[in-house]
């Protein structure tokens, strides 16, 4: 087989989900290199858009045939991606779509569905507890977080589900603990917590346990960390479900890209992954005990 290089640019492992991304990217990179002789896969992580733009440039310097990128923040990276694409490199964008997302920017888009993550959570809450009073813990003030909020709002629109409050927990356990403690102080009755991220759910659960409050029926996280999936599997009352937002999507994109490079399948356009609702019944399909996330 001929020598090809795939560059993979992903966010640095700064919280649970991104660490899952790094794990899967490296796992699939090894797999692919075993599968295709002569293929080199270089994985690079970056903490923020500006340094990711640098990383993309540096990958280009090394000479790559394809770029798989999961942008920390898509819009600021469009120019950098276009630069690569302009040189005829095959480009796959994963998860986060820029506002202009057509084939002038990329060849392949593997979409994690952020609005759907919010929508599935909202739908579940609306169905299980139609009159729920909900507090929401958001991530960081960046677009993907906003999309999840929008999806959630869309799902509960018109229902009797009521959002008491929204605050940022920065996708960080300690901050989520703090925010939850204050929510508990502020609201005497809360039915459901939606924190859209399993890392933050860890802090939320501790805060609830400490306050010994029994009014909270359950917590909906998201992303599918092994700890939370395990709880769902074990039938934990506080974590009845999880919304899948698998960090392994980066691996899917890498596999599709490799396939495109070696002309096994024509890979173009958009592949959207579901935001699957994980329940006690299907949980074991999504449990990866070896993953760091």
């Amino acid at each position: 087989a001929d020598a090809k290089t795939i560059g993979v640019s992903i966010p640095a492992a700064d919280h649970g989900w991104t660490s899952g991304v790094v794990y899967h990217a490296q796992r699939v990179a090894d797999l692919l290199m075993k599968e295709h002789e002569g293929l080199k896969v270089i994985v690079k992580t970056s903490p923020d858009p500006a340094s990711q733009a640098n990383a993309v440039q540096d990958l280009e310097t090394q000479g790559i045939d394809a770029l798989v990128i999961l942008p920390t923040d898509p819009d600021p990276l469009v120019n950098a991606i276009k630069e690569v694409k302009g040189k005829g490199t095959f480009v796959s964008i994963v998860d986060r779509a820029p506002s202009v997302n057509d084939n002038s920017v990329r060849d392949l888009y593997v979409a994690g569905n952020n609005p759907a993550l919010g929508e599935v959570a909202g739908q579940y809450i609306k169905d299980t507890s139609p009159e729920a009073k909900v507090v929401v813990i958001r991530g960081l003030p960046i677009p993907i977080d906003q999309q999840r909020q929008d999806g959630f709002d869309k799902a509960i629109a018109g229902s009797k589900v009521q959002v008491l409050d929204r605050q940022f927990g920065n996708w960080n356990r300690d901050d989520a603990f703090r925010v939850m403690q204050d929510f508990l102080t502020k609201y005497p009755a809360i039915d459901v917590v939606w924190c859209q991220d399993d890392d933050m759910a860890v802090g939320v659960l501790q805060a609830i346990e400490q306050a010994k409050r029994t009014d909270i029926k359950y917590v909906v996280g998201g992303a599918g960390s092994k700890d939370m999936i395990k709880k769902v599997m074990d039938g934990d009352k506080m974590i009845p479900v999880d919304v899948l937002y698998p960090p392994s999507m980066v691996g899917t994109a890498m596999e599709l890209t490799a396939a495109a490079l070696y002309d096994q399948i024509p890979a173009h356009g958009t592949y959207t992954l579901d935001a699957t609702l994980v329940t006690k019944d299907n949980a074991k399909n999504y449990y990866f005990p070896d993953s760091p996330f």
Binding site: A13, T18, V22, Y23, Q167, D182, T185, D199, Q206, P292
Partner: protein, 336 residues
């Protein structure tokens, strides 16, 4: 009481007596004002549970900031404390998970000892690089900040490190969630540590030397003080304080991740400065420091409890409040 000890530490000229009095009291006045505002914002605020929550949460930053008071008083700066928390906590949990000791009680004791040793060594490393290597503390500890954080990420492979044994967890949990005579353990720990720190800073030879080194290094050297040793010791004290904070942190969530302790260094330094210690070195105010830590946590708490602030603007308002608190403090200090 707290303010009293502050002042007896450094008795001043008669002429500037009232002046100093107010300067030491100023952070406490700012704290009282904030509590007043909080009570107006939300009736739940003034409840025992909420105040206890806030004080307990402030414990981590307060403990770290007590250590930072030593480092800053001696004229240095330590930016690595946040990632040091993550690093020490990771090692501690990994050790507890290793099952090296069967008895959970013994295991926890050994883990605490390990945390203290690792914390001191991290502090020692900072101290040596800064003094022997003659690198500005800002840069030296920015470097070790990267190193400790990187090692943590590597240990956890980017994910979380979670305490596995439910037995250990159950046994250790009260260290954060428990209370003695109605006072949460973390608050007791903070007061104990601060009292010891105040004693060391104001009543011992070492504390005197810290002030002298921070105030004027040449003078200290000419007075036969081993300047580098004093500075290194301050970094080690900082490391021990970080380890104590970790001891309370681990039982809280029973896990660490790559995000643990991010930006805590800025919060600790802010607490120290809000508490009245000057960044240029010289005079340290330990009680002021923990007051500063409470102020910072209270500001966040009030924001969250208030109903009229857009979540997007919280950062902006927090910044404004800190500036206003400092202005109040300055104008108080200047008046007399």
């Amino acid at each position: 009481m707290a303010a009293d000890t502050e002042m007896s530490g450094t008795v001043r000229a008669r002429r500037s007596w009232r002046d100093v009095d107010l300067r030491a009291v100023a952070p406490f006045v700012a704290l009282a004002l904030l509590i007043l505002i909080g009570a107006l914002v939300n009736p739940n605020f003034i409840g025992i549970t909420n105040l206890a929550n806030v004080a307990t949460r402030a414990a981590f930053i307060a403990l770290i900031a007590v250590g930072a008071t030593f480092v800053i008083s001696s004229g240095d700066l330590d930016l690595s404390v946040g990632s040091m928390v993550a690093f020490v906590a990771s090692l501690m949990i990994l050790f507890m998970n290793s099952g090296a000791i069967a008895d959970p009680g013994m295991m926890i004791a050994a883990a605490i000892l390990l945390a203290l040793v690792v914390g001191s060594l991290c502090g020692l490393a900072n101290g040596l690089i800064t003094t022997v290597g003659r690198i500005e503390p800002f840069i030296a500890t920015l470097g070790t900040m990267g190193i400790y954080r990187g090692l943590t990420t590597w240990l956890s492979q980017g994910g979380a490190i979670t305490l596995r044994s439910p037995e250990q967890q159950a046994l250790y949990r009260p260290a954060y969630f428990g209370s003695i005579l109605g006072v949460p353990v973390p608050i007791l720990v903070v007061f104990l540590v601060t009292a010891i720190a105040a004693f060391v800073l104001y009543r011992t030879r070492y504390g005197r030397h810290v002030t002298a080194v921070g105030s004027n290094r040449d003078v200290a050297r000419y007075s036969g003080i081993a300047v580098d040793r004093v500075r290194i010791a301050a970094f080690v004290i900082q490391g021990v304080c970080v380890a104590i904070a970790v001891m309370l942190y681990v039982p809280r969530l029973g896990s660490t991740s790559a995000t643990t302790g991010i930006l805590w260094e800025l919060q600790a330094i802010t607490a120290v400065v809000v508490g009245g210690t000057a960044l240029k070195g010289g005079a340290g105010r330990v009680w002021g420091t923990i007051c500063g830590a409470f102020i910072l946590e209270l500001v966040g708490n009030i924001m969250l409890l208030s109903n009229f602030i857009s979540e997007y603007l919280i950062g902006a308002i927090q910044g404004t409040i800190i500036i206003i608190a400092m202005l109040v403090q300055r104008s108080l200090a200047r008046k007399a």
